[in-house]
Amino acid sequence: MQKKMAYSFPDEVLEHVFSFIQSDKDRNAVSMVCKSWYDIERWCRRKIFVGNCYAVNPRIVIRRFPEVRSIELKGKPHFADFNLVPDGWGGYVFPWILEMARAYPWLEEIRLKRMVVTDESLELIAKSFKNFKVLVLFSCEGFSTDGLAAIAASCKNLRELDLRDSEVDDLSGHWLSHFPETYTSLVSLNISCLGSDEVSFSALERLVGRCPNLRTLLLNRAVPLDKIANILRRAPQLVEFGTGTYTAELRPDVFSYLAGAFSSCKELRSLSGFWEAVPAYIPAIYSVCSRLTSLNLSFATIQNPDLIKLVSLCPSLQRLLVLDYIEDSGLEALASSCKDLQELRVFPSDPFGVEPNVSLTEQGLVAISWGCPKLESVLYFCRQMSNAALVTIAQNRPNLTRFRLCIIDPKTVDYLTHEPLDVGFGAIVEHCKDLRRLSLSGLLTDRVFDYIGTYAKKLEMLSVAFAGDSDLGLHHVLSGCESLRKLEIRDCPFGDKALLANAAKLETMRSLWMSSCSVSFGACKLLGQKMPRLNVEVIDERGHPDSRPESCPVDKLYIYRSVAGPRVDMPPFVWTKDEDSSLRLS
């Protein structure tokens, strides 16, 4: 009998081969080939991504992957960004840091999104990881500048400190001074979210001056315009720069000093900040415009014609974030000057106003779809839309991968025909075959979900609000969208039937969020019982769901797959099928 040729490669060879395989998906595939590959792979995996921190627990991760150097964790559901998740819901990183401090002394990178990070966690990070290099806190909260001081003081090899969009208790600007004078390895610093009026400018300037590898520097609002030039002159190698508040009285000497500082930054490719920008100082950046690939003006209050003039000077632009002050005319100008545009985000300047304050309609987006052949990612807030416009956009831009449209008034009809916008969004999913992310708005019936279920085969994330007529809508999506990972729904008449009929689908997804819909607590309990690998969590601050009539729907529902079982840190307003309240935080 022929001896079975077991893998005769020594482990080291396989390990070496595996080291070229970086993507998680590929690594996961490799580990499924056979038991020995699983074992070899797990010892050499260095980077872990956990899309839902409650899908697994630190012990399980550490047991399988003993030599991790880099970890990324995500906590709260996306709708937490819009205040739909009550405070105290969860997403605490501390238990992870505690376990990793013991198991991964050589951990270099921690990236967190929507998690609660305390000063205690930051202090533990600072103390535990001798070679710590990267800390990214994306939309996190729960910590103060004291925690940052601990990181600054202890992490001698820190390369990257990125606090983007986090809520930080800004106790004092002096945390920056905790970087020792010997510390020179900073590559990227993003403190744009810090609110305090105190920033130690001299500490900042000295820090910038002694870090020759600094590539990214995003300042906060507290840094006034007249301080920028000195900072730029100390870091002419910057690639990405974010100003602070960009307003001051026009003084020719300040202007020319600033313009000179910008023009000496030959590597500058990305600009942001510009809070309260005044037109008078915008020309100071003209010298870098032709090289800019990314521009974030979404906090800049400048309007047309200054805004149009500025974007027209940036022919290399790939990414633009802007307020709707740009108006349709500005987007038309953008469409003719920025042929490399890949990503566009237009935010509303007056989201709560009753009447439109600017002339930005669907026409602007249509113009972009005609003029920008590389456009793949759109986030667009506007007040009117038509099916015809959406069909045009879809036909022009089948290469769209992310399309998020927010028509500000819920249930707005096609303003030309007064019909729902089903056909328009249907065209988007039909033509844009690689669409991965979609957000809907306007008046929509079950028909749009039929289109989505039929065509959106690559769709991974869908956001729905104030749409649909019945459970059939939800059923179309759950049964049709093969690649769906994240589904978030609010204020739709979707109930028990579709949910229970598609229970198995939920285990193939990361998570499902439903709030202000029509799901009963009974169905939630049933789902939780039928599907032990799903955590079915009802968020309801009105008290135990059983204290309300059967017909009363739950307020919010968050369902996610997990190998870690029910979580042990649920606050009092989160309810599961388990009546046992000993699982709760005291």
Binding site: L84, D350, F352, V354, V358, C406, D409, Y415, P549
Partner: protein, 192 residues
């Protein structure tokens, strides 16, 4: 409070009730200003009771003539909401300065109406300036829950309750402001 309203209705005092608003307009429970323009279905706003299941809810206005505030809509991060400057006001033209008097205060103040983007901001500023609190505004009952009512003198010389007309109309027709106190203020609504 509810009892006294019913009592007044039984006596049919409605016909003689002092009302601030266009004559002949009925009380309306739904805000239809923007709905009429867009021909939309009425908005269902999830409220405290479990009424979101197919029922058309009464919209509770907490801010005069602002949109009924839906939690988390439009989907904008909170750090973006706080960044907006008053539209056009600082660029175009001089401010709209009006005198503000408060019953019982020794001297008047002056404010620039152009600085504010809407009623909530203006009322907060007045509350801060004179150190008092206003009650909650509603179409039917004005400012309920405090001893104060904000009023203004319009172009016809009439004293109107602040908040009834759209903001843009208000700032162009307001000559001066007066914060009424005490029984005079309470009489401006139909309830106590």
């Amino acid at each position: 409070m509810e009892g006294s309203v019913a009592y007044e209705n039984d006596l049919n005092l409605e016909a003689t009730e002092l009302r601030l608003g266009l004559p002949g307009t009925d009380e309306r429970e739904e805000q239809t200003v923007s709905n009429v323009r867009n021909n939309k279905r009425p908005l269902q706003v999830a409220d405290e009771e479990c009424g979101a299941n197919g029922k058309s809810n009464t919209q509770n206005e907490t801010a005069p003539h602002a949109k009924a505030q839906i939690v988390g809509w439009p989907p904008i991060r909170s750090y973006r909401k706080n960044n907006f400057q008053p539209k056009k006001s600082e660029c175009e033209g001089p401010g709209i300065y009006v005198k503000v008097s408060m019953d019982g205060a020794a001297y008047l103040r002056k404010i620039d109406l152009k600085v504010y983007t809407g009623y909530p901001e203006l009322l907060r500023a007045l509350e801060n300036m004179f150190k008092f609190t206003l009650g909650e505004y509603s179409d039917r009952e004005g400012y309920k829950g405090s001893d104060y009512a904000p009023t203004y003198e319009d172009k016809d010389g009439d004293w109107m309750l602040v908040g009834d007309v759209p903001w843009e109309m208000f700032i162009t027709s307001c000559n001066r402001l007066r914060i009424m106190k005490g029984s005079e203020a309470r009489g401006l609504g139909c309830g106590v």
